[in-house]
Symmetry: C2
Subunit: 537 residues, 2 copies
Amino acid sequence: MGKEQQKQQNKEKKVAAQQQQQQNTGDEAGTKKQTRLGLDVTKTENYSEWYSQVIVKSELIEYYDVSGCYVIRPWAYSVWEHIQAFFDAEIKKLGVKNCYFPMFVSAAALEREKTHVADFAPEVAWVTKAGNSDLAVPIAIRPTSETVMYPTFAKWCKSHRDLPIKINQWCNVVRWEFKHPTPFLRTREFLWQEGHTAYATKEEAEEEVYDILNLYARVYTDLLAIPVVKGRKSEKEKFAGADFTTTVEAYVPVNGRGIQGGTSHHLGQNFSKMFNIEFDSLVKGQAEFVHQNSWGLSTRSIGAMVMIHGDDTGLVLPPRVADIQVVVIPVGITVKLSDEKRVELIEKSDALVKMLKEEHGVRAVLDQRDNVSPGWKFNHWELKGVPIRLELGPKDLAKEQALAVVRHSGQKVPLPLANLGESIKQLLDTIHAEMYKKVEQIRDEHMVICLDLEEMTPLLDKKCVILAPFCGRIECETSIKDFTVREEPADLGTAQMGAKTLCIPLEQPKDVQLPEQCINPRCSHKTQFFALFGRSY
Amino acid sequence: MGKEQQKQQNKEKKVAAQQQQQQNTGDEAGTKKQTRLGLDVTKTENYSEWYSQVIVKSELIEYYDVSGCYVIRPWAYSVWEHIQAFFDAEIKKLGVKNCYFPMFVSAAALEREKTHVADFAPEVAWVTKAGNSDLAVPIAIRPTSETVMYPTFAKWCKSHRDLPIKINQWCNVVRWEFKHPTPFLRTREFLWQEGHTAYATKEEAEEEVYDILNLYARVYTDLLAIPVVKGRKSEKEKFAGADFTTTVEAYVPVNGRGIQGGTSHHLGQNFSKMFNIEFDSLVKGQAEFVHQNSWGLSTRSIGAMVMIHGDDTGLVLPPRVADIQVVVIPVGITVKLSDEKRVELIEKSDALVKMLKEEHGVRAVLDQRDNVSPGWKFNHWELKGVPIRLELGPKDLAKEQALAVVRHSGQKVPLPLANLGESIKQLLDTIHAEMYKKVEQIRDEHMVICLDLEEMTPLLDKKCVILAPFCGRIECETSIKDFTVREEPADLGTAQMGAKTLCIPLEQPKDVQLPEQCINPRCSHKTQFFALFGRSY
């Protein structure tokens, strides 16, 4: 970028700041107060306040008057739609069909599988009244749909020919959490997909568990530009009622916490025995219970995206889920500019957007508002996290180029107009790769092997997630958690909670022999694997 | 079709019937009882039983243990997905964005608009408990989201520049009806989309009301092959809180009842005044309340499709919403057929399906099960309503043709293999047009003008919907309804309910002068229009 251009930009940003000030004091003029553009805090100085501000100011979330419930605004919902489009197409390729089961579940069905209900019961919301009448029997709202669906599975499953059953639904679920709610991360109602399948053999079912896990990993790596560790959940952390749970776990650099990204469960025959889902096994020559899976990915993924990529300027959207990938902003429209030149600039900008959309499938818009300055627009779209801002001014036009400004890096790239569609598409791919790499590098630097329990808490305070030899037992995991709890935070903003296992990585550390001694020095059981421990969401 | 082929078919159907009989008595052999294929009743002899059987046996619906709630199986849900794909793309072209608001609403918000809440309150489900704790304040589940969304609209709407607001959500809603529930038509939970918009001017808002109404009409005419009458609802029938409601109304031939297909409401400033949704009007130079619309289309549309097109053989799917448009069934595989010929037949069938799918975008499948006869398959896919069955036998292969059998008409059309993709696509379009015409013709024959109240009930019993001069007043509509109620059904299976207005058709009868006297002879008010009266769902 030339000096001239830089000067113009600085000028425009200044004007924007002034405009904003005027808007903020607009009360006196009888108009409503405008929310201040931009964030008041940095991500590191007050992370929780930063998160609240980002999600509201970038227009992802609106607060709501029922505690633990939030409005998912179009800017956030479009991210979900991109995730849906990808995942829905992929599971359809696997032969999964969408359907819809009621959100209400009778107490009788809900309580059929004991381990399962024990875990969910404290958070179940109950409908007890309709209009002015009390219901004869209270009815639960699904916290998940195993108990909703499986009585029906028993009806559907008559013969080995009825298998596999593979269904999915995109829906809302309710878990009335009493902990402090956080938009996207811990909400009383959330959106997700839940897949439920039944197979004749354990082998087929297990294969699918990993097929789905790989799709979940791709949602993060290919769409959200977030690296994940694939693994199994420990006995303590697995889904209530599952034989085993697999998970993708992401890392949040700002505070070093892990966040579960999506889980794919092998339920074995636990539910099929309780719900009598049987078939005539050709192999065994007798009735056999089906082998089941369930798997879910929720709008929590959007929260992970915000936490991991957002910066002090606001939201940073990975290109593939950004509803607007490129915002074109005409610049350099001063009083000196002739009407003719101005019209040319606007027309050219408009044509660029059309070309990007129609010929290259790039999600582009033109911001041609004339009541705000280019600088104000820069701030606005940076706050909203649009991956590329494309500035086009008279001087650019003369040089047959446009200036691309990359949101995540601030990098400025002049692009010839001649081949703009292709170069924008390449740039979007590059941005995706860079965003991914940036997180991966920090994550890798903070994923350390540790063999000594005493070292764990200091490592957690250094925002590490920890690969430690582990026996896998519930008691041992509880001890480790208790041992790593802090009475007081080590530092402003760091968490005090103890470590739990995020997962047992499918890919175990290479070049390191698994020690025989569990990380818990009091444990006398044999280690099974390296588990990934961390503070967690 | 040749005699030979006919004979073969009859034979195969006979074998299928025998197989089925065997399956039905399978209990003795220790296997579970198989649901009887095919319907036990005809549509005219016991319509309500017919409906229950069709939706279950064609695998659209599974019954559920919470009253008024049903499982929407993949076969039905895919119809909904086709409707979603069309409608979602169309509203996005209009600039509407998807979002998600909580399903819980506080009593305070719910009760803000009095007319509105009066209508919905008796059916509202209340959550009063979570886990074992009673909630401090009961929380309602949305019956519709005006009162959920509009407090937020007030936050979003600061200036004329924030308008229009155009959002939509695809979600579940709950109306705890105490009348007899019917799958798709009257259910306590159902799926729909609800659009909510706010404009600076009444004109813009009104224009959108009709844009959406036209899209709803297209869902019926272009996707579901169902003719509709577009109109306005009467004062009595309009949405609680709306200035006016527009609707598309379909006609159900079997019983002559009208069914509301989707409604698009102009809310005027009724809600904006209650929820304080204001903006600084440039035109008026002062604060003004926004002009609002809301509009919804639900899974009830699937019920209309079933009732209107289904026949004594089962479901009949309109091609554009059929998840399987063509089922290819190899036939004529007898013991005499050489292995080589058999393999050739299967391979050719498989290749046909691939070609139809990949080259022509036709949703085709091959049914190559070898445990059931072709005749059984014919029955199966007819019951499920697949628009075209494509039979391919050794003799067809020799003649380089396949036999298309059209579900809705039973028509048999030999099609040369040479140009099969194109001819199938044409045939699907023809089927759509024919299905539409068939219903339209019956509907038109039963839409009659009537000027005498005494004639109304006999006309209703003849399955008519009635265009009658009407003053438009609520009292008058109530009188007409009371007058047309029957103490006893005129005939087995006909309804006893009185007539209500389905709508005031936008297109009024041509060539007929509107009389000055309302259809109600006691009414002294001036007629306003012809209204369409009928028994209704």
